[in-house]
Structure formats: C-alpha cells, structure tokens
C-alpha cells in the first residue's frame, strides 16, 4: 500500500516530476555515454596491446630488458618451453630474437628494436598482419625476397619512405570524399609537388586555404596525398654476437598502421632466420619467449605460477610491462563509479529540492496521515519511495537512451579524427566504438537507488518533524 501510494504521489504534479526525471535521464545518459566512449578507447587500447604488440606474458633473461645486449639470451630455452607448455591456461608460445639497431635511408635514420620472428607462429598469435596498409606489401607473403622487413608507418615517415604528393588520383580521391570543387581548385598549384613530410605538405596547403577549410579538409588532403613507392628498402645496422658492426639492406615487406605511435616508430620485424644469419645467433637461442593465454583474466593468476617455475628469468605480464594501462584496467570500475557519483550527487540536489517542495505542499495531508495512525516509519518510507521512484524512472530512462545510443554508435563508431594526432601519440584510437559492460549498468542501478534514498533523508526528516495538530491547523 505504501509503495502504491508513493508511486501515485510521484505523479501528483506531473510537470514537476517529469522535469526532475528528465534531468536525471539527461545526467545519467551523459555519464553512461561518456563512460562508454572512454571505455571503448581503453578496451581498444588493451585489445591492441595484447593482440598486436605484447600478448600476455614475456619471459627473458633478467639483464635483457635493461641492457638489451645481444649476449643476454635465454640460457636454457627448452626449460622455458616445457614450463610454458605445462602451465594451464597457456595456449600459444613463440620465441623471438631481438637486437637494437639503426634503420636508415638516404634521407633519414632512426633507432629501432629489430625483432626476428617465427612468421607462421606470429600469424597465429598476433593480429598485427591485419594492420598492413593496403598497397605497401604482403607481410612476408610469397613474393617476399630475402631480407625483408615489416615496419610501422611512423618509422616509415621518419625514414622518408612515405611522401606526400598531390597526384591527379589524389584530387580524384578528394572529390569522391566530398571535398568541394572550390577547395580542390585552390590546391591545384600543388599538383605533382613532392613533400617529404606531412608537416611540409600542411604548411603548403595552409597558405592556400582558409582556416575553416584547413580544419574541415586537412585530414582528407593528407590521406589523399599519402604516397609510398612499393619495393622501397632500408638499411639496418646492429652488432653481431661478437660485437662487430653488421647490417644489411632490407626490402619493405609491408607497412603497418596502429594507434600507437611509439610502437610504430620503434618496432621493426624481420624473419628470424635472416636475423640469426646476420647476428651469428644459433638456432635455439632466443632473447624472449612470449605466451598467449586462453583469456586475459588469467593473466594475474598464471604469471606468478610461471615466475615461480622459472626463478632465474624475468617473467612479466603485459600489465607489468604497460603499467599505466594495467592501472586503468584494474581500477576502471572505481573510476567509473567516482565519475557517476559526481553526476548523481549533482542530480541529488534536484531531487532533494523537488521532494522538499512536495513535502511542504502536503503539510496538512501529512498531518492528517499522522492523525489517523500512519506511523513515522511508514511516512518516512513513503517519502523515501517517492524519491527512489523519481530517481529510478529517470535513471532507467537514461540507461535505456544510453543503451540505444551505444548500440548505434558501437556499429557506426565516433570519428575523432581531428584529435587523432594527440590520441595516437598515447596509443589510443581516434575511432571510438562505445561499449560498456552489463556490470556497469548493475552498479549504476544500485547507485541510482542509493541516490534516491539519500535524497529523501532531508525531506523525510522535515515531514517527520510535522506536528499533526499544527499541520492540520495550518492550511
């Protein structure tokens, strides 16, 4: 009965109730959608870290990470392989040979980490091959010649392998992408000109276009002018096992594009046997073993087991390697909760105000209820339920709207290409596909109910302070 009465009381003043419900709806939607967008960014980053860059667990010589000396290979690789194979949860293992060196072209050079990989195994364990930019190669495909390398786009730019040219095809592409003819016309003086860097191209067209045109079409122009000459090569130089300078010319077997600029700039992959030949490392000598697990949730459980089994080696999970990302992952729910508490606290003031008005308007009625025998507990419960109903209706509406918008944007994506440079510098994608777990909605429902209860305390206390005689008298 109290529940039914409270529900009916909520709709006594429809305009006022709907106003506060709308405020809660908008607040909850804003919070949930922002969380989903942030979450998607983090989920995509973790997905990239695990599937493209790191896998789950790394095992290497204790000295290797700090000194990266070629001699710091794993002394007993068979023990590592046996341990990893026997550890429950481990699904795949691969060994890598890693040397630090210099990549150079006639135009530029950069320090890189050259990783010798077992290509078939890497294809099973990583999705980096899927990040190949079309038209740049085949990721060590059948047409690959001896000494080939798979490099990141950022490194390719630093080595000036990628250039920017506004060809007739580039203008055609701009037209297809909806860039106005007037803008294309303004760019015509740049046709055929070669720009060695993105910066130089930008400086050139900025002088020809208005600020708004640069802002609206700059990214399209850069994409259209992006140019790579297939079959380009680089020189890799490094030390062999005897400490002698060595190196070779490597043909580009493909360029990958990820959302992690640092990874793109530093990582360079070559077939393991080719690197062994050049460095003098023997078959069976590895600098690092990488293990993949059945699921990411096993990481914290499996890592200590392997660490205990291999006391002489450094065993690190991806969370220990990418501590910033791990911290975000481990505390993500707390971060969301804090964010939502701030939003709900702001909304609570609106609910308190509405409930207070409702109580003060019903002074006589509350006095009557007390007079005819409705005790303090029931009156408190009635006011509290009214507040909870207001919160829940608004909260559920907000969650429903959020779920709908998230369902749509998780398919269409949200393009933040204008901020791509900044986001990718930190390894985050500029294309967001909002997503949020069901557990977040459960947590939010609990928080909304608590907000309703807390918002009711002050108005309910006011109601309980009413003296029935005074309340009945004061009309």
């Amino acid at each position: 009965m109290i529940t039914s009465l409270a529900w009916k009381n909520v709709w006594r003043n429809k305009t006022r109730s709907l106003t506060v419900i709308a405020a809660v709806t908008v607040g909850v939607f804003a919070g949930v959608f922002a969380m989903a967008a942030i979450n998607s960014s983090i989920v995509q980053r973790i997905d990239a870290a695990v599937n493209e860059e790191l896998a789950h667990i790394h095992v290497n010589n204790k000295e290797f990470r700090s000194s990266s000396d070629i001699q710091n290979f794993i002394q007993d690789p068979s023990a590592v392989i046996t341990t990893l194979e026997k550890t429950p949860g481990v699904t795949d293992i691969t060994g890598r040979v890693i040397v630090r060196g210099i990549a150079s072209t006639s135009a530029g050079s950069a320090g890189v980490e050259i990783t010798g990989i077992d290509i078939p195994k890497e294809l099973e364990m990583f999705t980096l091959s899927e990040k190949l930019i079309p038209g740049t190669g085949s990721y060590f495909g059948a047409d690959t010649k001896l000494n080939s390398a798979f490099i990141g786009e950022k490194l390719a730019k630093e080595l000036y392998i990628i250039r920017y040219i506004l060809t007739p095809e580039a203008f055609q592409s701009l037209e297809t992408k909806g860039v106005p003819a007037a803008v294309i016309e303004k760019l015509k003086p740049l046709e055929g000109e070669r720009f060695t860097t993105e910066k130089k191209l930008t400086e050139s067209y900025t002088g020809l276009l208005s600020g708004k045109e640069v802002k609206d079409y700059g990214m399209n122009i850069k994409e259209a002018a992006w140019s790579y000459r297939e079959g380009s090569s680089i020189i890799l130089s490094f030390l062999d096992v005897n400490g002698h300078q060595t190196g070779a010319k490597f043909r580009i077997s493909g360029i990958f594009r990820t959302n992690n600029d640092l990874f793109e700039a530093m990582s360079l992959f070559v077939p393991q046997d080719e690197l062994r030949k050049l460095t003098g490392l023997e078959e069976g000598q590895y600098h690092r073993f990488i293990a993949r697990l059945e699921e990411d949730d096993l990481t914290n459980k499996v890592t200590p087991v392997i660490r205990e089994a291999l006391p002489g080696l450094e065993v690190m999970s991806w969370k220990e390697i990418q501590t910033d990302l791990a911290m975000v992952t481990d505390y993500i729910n707390q971060i969301y909760a804090i964010f939502m508490v701030i939003i709900l606290a702001a909304l609570a003031f609106g609910i308190v105000n509405t409930m207070l008005m409702s109580v003060l308007e019903r002074t006589r009625e509350l006095g009557m209820l007390s007079a005819i025998g409705m005790n303090r507990r029931r009156i408190f419960m009635m006011i509290m339920l009214e507040s909870v109903f207001l919160s829940i209706v608004g909260g559920f509406a907000g969650m429903a709207v959020s779920a709908g918008v998230i369902a749509i944007t998780s398919r269409t994506g949200i393009n933040l290409i204008k901020y791509a440079e900044g986001m990718e510098a930190f390894g985050y994608s500029a294309n967001l596909y909002p997503t949020i777990g069901a557990d977040f909605f459960i947590m939010l429902t609990v928080m909304i109910v608590i907000t309703g209860i807390l918002s009711a305390i002050y108005p309910a206390r006011k109601a309980l302070q009413l003296n029935p005689v005074e309340a009945l008298r004061g009309e």
Binding site: R364, E365, L369, I372, G373, M374, N375
Partner: protein, 231 residues
C-alpha cells in the same frame, strides 16, 4: 459503558510570554453510543479538547483514559498506534488522500491495520453503501462534491470500527442539504453500529440532532445537558 473518561484535564500554551489556558480543569466522560456535541464560542477550547481526546496533543494536567489506555503514559509512537486502533477522525476540510479513489480512502486505515484483503473489501463496500456512495468506488476526491467527500471521510473513520469518532466542525464547509444528509448518515450509523460520536461545532443543525450538548467557555465546562433526542 464508559468509552472515554477525562479527569481534571488542562492544557496551557505558553505563547510569546503569555500563558493561555485553552482547557482548564475539564472533567467529563462519554458512554458507548453517545451522540454528543461540544459547543462554545471561538477560543473556548473545543478543538483543543478534541485534540486531547484523540491523542493528537498531550494535556499539561489531568488524565484521559480511553478504552483502558492512560494517554499520558503512552510514548509518541504508541500514541500514533493508539489513534489508528481506537479513534476515528472526521475533519472540517475532509482531508481525503487526493491520489486515492473513494474506496481506497475508505480502506486506508484498515490497510494500515493489516486487515485481510477480502474482509477489507467487504467492509469498504458496506461503508460506501452506508453513506450512499456505492456507485462512486473509483472516483477520486476531486471528482466528488464537498458533501460526498465528507461522507467518504465518515466512512473512512468508521470502517475500522474505532472506539469513538471525533468530528471537528464536520458540516462547516457543507450546504444545508449536504449537511442534513451527512447528519442523517451519522445518526443512522450511531444507532446501527452503536458508534460513539463526539462533535465540536458551531452549527445549530448538529446541535439539534445531539442527545448531549456540552458547552465550553474559556476552557471550562459551563453546562453538560442531555436533550430530548431519541436514542
């Protein structure tokens, strides 16, 4: 059989350094089936006395015993339960719950008392029939006239069968026809259910129906007379 006993009851208010004796040493008793009115000029203490009888207010002196309960010994929470169990209230301004239907208003106190649903429904139907509103079960107060609302209020007060009904100026807001109709109903219920009615009123129409008229002046009983009205 005595339903209510009041012994030397006083109520003094201390308002802005002035002491106001609203009720001053009143001794009265009411028997089961009484149909009594308390009359007197404004400020004579009628409403205060009614509030004291109903346990809405505590006396500053004297003793009130209702159905064996000494009201001064009850804690505030016990007083609320006491009111729910033993007293029926009819207010001048009807005071129905606007969001509930007539039937829900009549069943409200029985609901608080946790009557079984079937029994509650039967009693609600019976009471609405008694006050002539069988066809207005689902009407909200805003859809009823003043007289009809007051009849619903009487049905609500009587439905859980309290020890007695306190009615504070029940006809003050009603036209003559509605007032006479309401008084007919109350008289009928008084006879049929042996329900004790205690009114506070200025209305001569109520006084004419009363079998006992108690007159207050300056918080004191100046007369307590039985009338010739048949029981």
């Amino acid at each position: 059989m005595k339903v209510v006993e009041i012994n030397e009851v006083s109520k003094t208010y201390h308002d802005t350094e002035v002491e106001v004796k609203a009720v001053n040493g009143v001794t009265l008793s009411f028997d089961k089936g009484d149909f009594a009115v308390i009359v007197g000029p404004s400020g004579s203490g009628k409403t205060t006395l009614l509030n004291l009888l109903g346990g809405l207010d505590q006396p500053t002196g004297g003793e009130i015993i209702v159905a064996g309960h000494r009201l001064s010994e009850l804690r505030p929470s016990e007083l609320i339960d006491f009111r729910m169990e033993h007293v029926g209230f009819v207010f001048q301004s009807y005071n129905l719950i606007p969001v509930l239907t007539a039937a829900e208003n009549v069943g409200f106190i029985m609901n608080l008392q946790k009557w079984p649903k079937e029994k509650r429904k039967a009693r609600t139907d019976e009471m609405l029939a008694s006050v002539g509103l069988s066809d207005r079960h689902n009407s909200r107060p805003s859809q009823l006239s003043g007289g009809q609302q007051q009849r619903v209020a009487v049905a609500r007060a009587l439905a859980p069968r309290p020890e007695f009904i306190l009615a504070d100026e029940p006809t003050a807001n009603l036209d003559s026809k509605s007032a006479e109709s309401l008084l007919d109903i109350m008289e009928k219920l008084n006879r049929e259910e042996q329900m004790t009615f205690i009114f506070s009123t200025h209305d001569v129409r109520v006084m004419k129906r009363a079998r006992r008229v108690i007159t207050l002046e300056d918080g004191r009983v100046v007369s307590d007379e039985r009338t010739n009205q048949p029981a």
